[in-house]
Symmetry: C2
Subunit: 218 residues, 2 copies
């Protein structure tokens, strides 16, 4: 075991914390993208940083499929359109008109698009931490996406997470191996505009609520 | 809709990005805690920052239960001990001895401990984005934990995520409402030591692997 190397331990200061808090505040789920491409080295850089994310048993179970071909992008858009029509039909009459006006994804314009899976057949980590809670593998992938999101935003890149999709159909369209569980579809690119408040808040769909009411003590 | 307020848009620079990358590198899953308490305002601050995390439909479905009573902490420790004994029994003979030596949690010393749940009965967000993928609610909670983790670490606090637990038993012990799905048990406190490499890597259990082999293109 390597001895602790305390002399080189980083010490974060108030200035850094204030900027980190600004990053968290301005992160946003982006749905309006410019069409200019994301430079390949930049995409590689943020994906590499995401490797530093926590994962159960150090399993790194995330698997990325970059969706670039027009045929596959069209399949994803059809998938979204059908799921979204069903979701609209499900909305209460009082909310349906507002729902129909929401901008929920950037599939048309986002220059980089990634389908993200969790490989439940991975042997990395030797199953540590995933026996009673195999879903911890999925949670590792979701946590990685949060890290990817912040790394991208710190470089000016916006990210949007699309979940209005039929995961079985998307996995079949992409030809994902059977052990791959679909977790998220990510749009990446340069945002058209910047906002500190979430799109769903600005559009009157859902405000943020304070934390207080959600803490119990036992 | 609020117009974009471009004049006050934050611009992150190379110095900030370098410090953010350092934070990601040194984050760590901490299992060795000092026993000094975490100041309540500091705990409140990092939980408040975690509210800025992404969540499907802006649903903020995370619910925190602070576990502080000796009886409840003892129940969590018994839960872990039994699940860990089973996990050890499951290990291949060649790995069992190493598994038995691993330090996997900080339940004895961590001054602050949180059970984190996802409320599947929440109406916040009006179901947006969670019809075809209700598991997106769970992923929102996992992503929130990644943000909480980085916010804590930027303030010198360590966090450890324990998943070697029987979630049904833990939910019953805590008396969680039926709609609450258990996601994670978090230990928080001041780390005894700092490391850039994960504990599981230093102990010879599992090294990190590079990203390259995990990207497919379609």
């Amino acid at each position: 075991m390597t001895p602790p190397n305390l002399t080189s331990t980083p010490c974060f200061d108030d200035r850094f914390r204030a900027e980190l808090d600004t990053l968290l505040s301005w992160r946003r789920d982006v749905r309006r993208f410019r069409r200019d491409p994301v430079p390949r080295p930049l995409l590689a850089e943020v994906l590499q940083l995401a490797q530093l994310s926590p994962s159960v048993g150090n399993s790194q179970p995330w698997r990325f499929v970059e969706v670039a071909s027009p045929a596959m992008r069209a399949a994803v858009k059809r998938n979204f359109a059908e799921c979204n029509a069903e979701a609209l039909a499900d909305q209460a009459p009082t909310r349906a008109r507002l729902y129909a006006r929401l901008k929920l994804e950037g599939l048309d314009a986002a220059p980089a698009q990634l389908a993200v899976f969790c490989d439940h057949a991975t042997t990395q980590g030797h199953g540590l931490g995933a026996k009673t809670m195999p879903e911890a593998l999925d949670y590792s992938v979701a946590a990685m996406i949060a890290v990817l999101w912040l790394s991208a935003r710190a470089r000016g890149l916006g990210l949007g997470w699309v979940s209005i999709l039929d995961p079985a159909r998307l996995s079949a369209d992409i030809g994902a191996p059977g052990s791959y569980k679909f977790i998220a579809y990510l749009c990446l690119g340069w945002p058209v505009e910047e906002h500190e408040a979430p799109e769903l808040e600005r559009a009157g769909w859902q405000e943020r609520t304070p934390l207080g009411q959600y803490i119990l003590h036992v």
